[in-house]
């Protein structure tokens, strides 16, 4: 049975979090799967989380470059997030430059780079004014759930609830067909 790394669709983005040891064939399968999915879903952005990768060697580095180039040809942008410092140091010394690969430190910054439709808002891990996590049905007026909005209670929304479906007042959020977003960056 062929292994596949799961690809999540969130709005018009594709999210991949590599959580397993990446052997060469699996890396190539991911490349193929992503290009298929970009076309099938019309995705405009691809976010690849490599925070669990302890090494990025020339093969994996080339996979990331290829995915970035493929995406661009298919009218999408790729951002790689979570690169470990030791990996970055090693890549430079290895002499591997990945010119078409944009990077960001965290999933949030990566999403921001991609101009994501998905809004993630929190304040230092504290949820709503009452200290509890407020969700879609918190009674706030539709469209007022923006961080720093003038007046009104601040609403905290975790990215996992975001992916479930469109929220009242947020007409620009596309419904996600897949599982909730990877939970690593969700505030506790």
């Amino acid at each position: 049975m062929m292994e596949h790394i799961p690809i999540l669709k969130i709005g018009n983005l594709l999210l991949v979090s590599i959580q397993v040891d990446l052997h060469d064939k699996l890396a190539l399968t991911l490349q193929d799967d992503l290009s298929e999915q970009i076309v099938a879903t019309g995705a405009r952005g691809v976010l690849i989380d490599i925070s669990t990768l302890e090494i990025v060697d020339s093969f994996i580095g080339r996979m990331l470059s290829t995915i970035a180039s493929l995406s661009r040809i298919l009218d999408a942008e790729t951002v790689v997030v979570g690169m470990r410092p030791a990996v970055a140091v090693t890549l430079v010394e290895l002499g591997l430059s990945m010119p078409s690969v944009r990077t960001a430190l965290t999933v949030e910054q990566g999403l921001a780079l991609l101009g994501a439709e998905v809004k993630v808002a929190w304040e230092n891990g504290v949820a709503g004014e009452n200290g509890e996590e407020t969700g879609l049905d918190d009674g706030s007026a539709p469209g007022r759930d923006v961080v720093g909005g003038a007046g009104g209670p601040k609403t905290t929304r975790s990215s996992s609830s975001r992916a479930v479906g469109p929220c009242p007042g947020d007409a620009d959020v596309l419904p996600s067909g897949g599982a909730p977003a990877a939970g690593r960056e969700v505030p506790g």
């Binding site: 040891d21 990446l22 052997h23 060469d24 064939k25 302890e54 090494i55 990025v56 060697d57 020339s58 093969f59 580095g61 080339r62 470990r84 410092p85 030791a86 990996v87 140091v89 090693t90 010394e93 290895l94 002499g95 591997l96």
Partner: protein, 144 residues
């Protein structure tokens, strides 16, 4: 094989031999090197460099050498400890080692960074190859 680097160090722990015949073996090789690098108390960055070099060399052994083996052990040189990895295959061999060691040169479809890059990542690097016989690459990374 250059006797200097291979014999001048005293072996600290028993050598482990790992076959490199499949892609899974390359993954396994990374893990084995990582474990030994931790034992030798290499810094995280040095561990990462050594494991990355091992990944490149193991892949070379598989893809270009037709398969072979990796032998790793903790070595000592006076007060310093290090990890030594020897990759060997009975493949076609390398016609011109100097050219093979330049960045960007590849005899296949790779990036051409495996040999030259690995050399930059490790402290000691010895390569010996004979056409029609095979190739052996020995690398050592020392703790600081």
């Amino acid at each position: 094989m250059n006797a200097g680097i291979v014999d001048s160090v005293r072996t600290g722990k028993g050598a482990q031999r790992h076959p490199i015949a499949t892609e899974a073996d390359v993954v396994h090789a990374r893990q084995a090197v990582r474990t030994l690098a931790v034992t030798a108390k290499l810094s995280l960055i040095d561990q990462t460099k050594m494991v990355t070099a091992a990944s490149e060399l193991a892949r070379n052994t598989l893809v270009y050498g037709g398969g072979g083996s990796m032998t790793i052990e903790v070595v000592e040189n006076g007060p310093r400890r290090g990890v030594r990895a020897v990759f060997t295959d009975a493949g076609p061999g390398i016609a011109d080692v100097d050219i093979a060691m330049t960045d960007g040169w590849t005899s296949g479809s790779g990036l051409g960074l495996g040999l030259s890059g690995s050399r930059r990542l490790v402290d000691d690097f010895v390569i010996e190859s004979t056409l029609g016989v095979g190739t052996t690459v020995c690398v050592v990374k020392w703790s600081r």
